[in-house]
Subunit: 221 residues, 2 copies
DNA sequence: TAGATTGTTAATCGATTAACAATC
DNA sequence: TAGATTGTTAATCGATTAACAATC
């Protein structure tokens, strides 16, 4: 058994998140006609320090030129080679409510190599309606959707009370990953990798930061 | 100058996020009629280890009973005392598209002590429409909304290209915090504390986890 | 050559895990 | 008392910051 060298498997999670931001920003720089960019500049644009940028990029191999910076186009290609699947990564949206519609309509997916292949809902009133050119199908069709499209990742946008049951259903239907918008994180159903997007939690942290920084609560007596 | 004891200002960020989950779960346990809960059980419900739960809760002072666990109602009260403002925390939503509508409709806000006081959009076609019983107002009314309601936190749900300009506008209008759904994180406008909710980033990390775990890509040759 | 900027290493910081005494 | 469970301390792990030699 030998180690793979071209695609290091151990890129830290914090780095992965930032690499994503670099990619988005490099795309903009390229469209703006920039030839090169320094770690300092790229850091300014994405909210990271120059050192962090360099360290992160070094996971992809040394691609910069000392004294000059990074070639925008080459680095972008390298990032896309690393992360982008050869064809767009299919997604299935579970829950056709407001949030599901928002995710389905998300303009960034095209640019970032994703493609929504189906939207499912368990509410008969929603099934059959059109969303972004797709017909909403019934949740029970999930196994069939998986078979038809080979989709491996689901986006869970159902109300919190349904989240658990639908997650189990996803595991059973053969999905391998789930991005959940549910406000609580119960243990993930067995073979499923689940990540959470939780804006109420972020709001909570934000409020604590404001409180601690003394920015608000003007102590009205 | 003396240290405040009742409300420790130094609760770690990771802990704050989890305390939020504990609160949500304790609410459910209370409604289910549970009297007490152990750190082990609370951990199972929220995806944390028993040790982490105890450590997190110890930031609120020692509230458990050895050999018994934590009193659900008392602990919940303590958590709400710590985090909940006396009156619901007002929010203004900036951007009345799908995502803005989803956030405005989010059922969890009531339970968690938030209240959406206004929805703003810069697109005249959207201004005047109703959303969750509120009339969408024009983005230029923000300073007035701030004055009328005393709102301090904005939820940024505009498209990525507008995010920067609207963030500046928020800072100018006197907001002190922003929860942004923008896919990139430019430097925050001066006095504003900004947190990001980025599902494309989480999706990216999820895919890398799947790749590394070998769960998918069945190596079709 | 001199200035700029990278790539990498060492030091610091914070969060998690593991262990265990305290005690209901 | 004995079993269960907390609260806290020490050890480990990972991420960030700072420093600097390498080199375009």
């Amino acid at each position: 058994m030998r180690m793979r060298e071209t695609r290091p498997e151990g890129i830290p999670e914090a780095t992965l998140g930032r690499l994503h931001h670099y990619r988005v920003m490099l795309g903009r720089l390229q469209r703006a006609g920039q030839q090169t960019v320094s770690s300092r500049k790229l850091g300014e644009l994405t909210g990271a320090s120059a050192e962090v940028v360099r360290k992160d990029l070094s996971w992809l191999g040394a691609y910069g030129q000392r004294g000059v910076g990074y070639e925008v186009e080459g680095l972008l290609r390298r990032l896309e080679e690393e992360f982008r699947p050869t064809s767009p990564c299919p997604l299935v949206i579970l829950g056709a409510g407001n949030l599901g519609a928002a995710v389905a309509a998300y303009a960034g997916f095209d640019l970032q190599g994703y493609r929504v292949v189906a939207v499912l809902d368990s509410n008969p009133a929603r099934v059959g309606h059109r969303l972004q050119g797709m017909v909403v199908r019934h949740m029970r069709d999930l196994p069939q959707v998986v078979q038809e499209t080979g989709v491996e990742i689901g986006v869970l946008t159902v109300p919190a009370v349904q989240a658990n049951a639908v997650a189990e259903w996803c595991a059973a239907a053969g999905l391998s990953g789930l991005l959940s918008f549910s406000p609580v994180q119960p243990p993930a159903p067995a073979p499923l990798v689940v990540r959470y997007v939780n804006f109420a939690e972020q709001l909570q942290i934000l409020r604590c930061q404001l409180r601690d920084s003394g920015a608000h609560t003007p102590e009205r007596v």
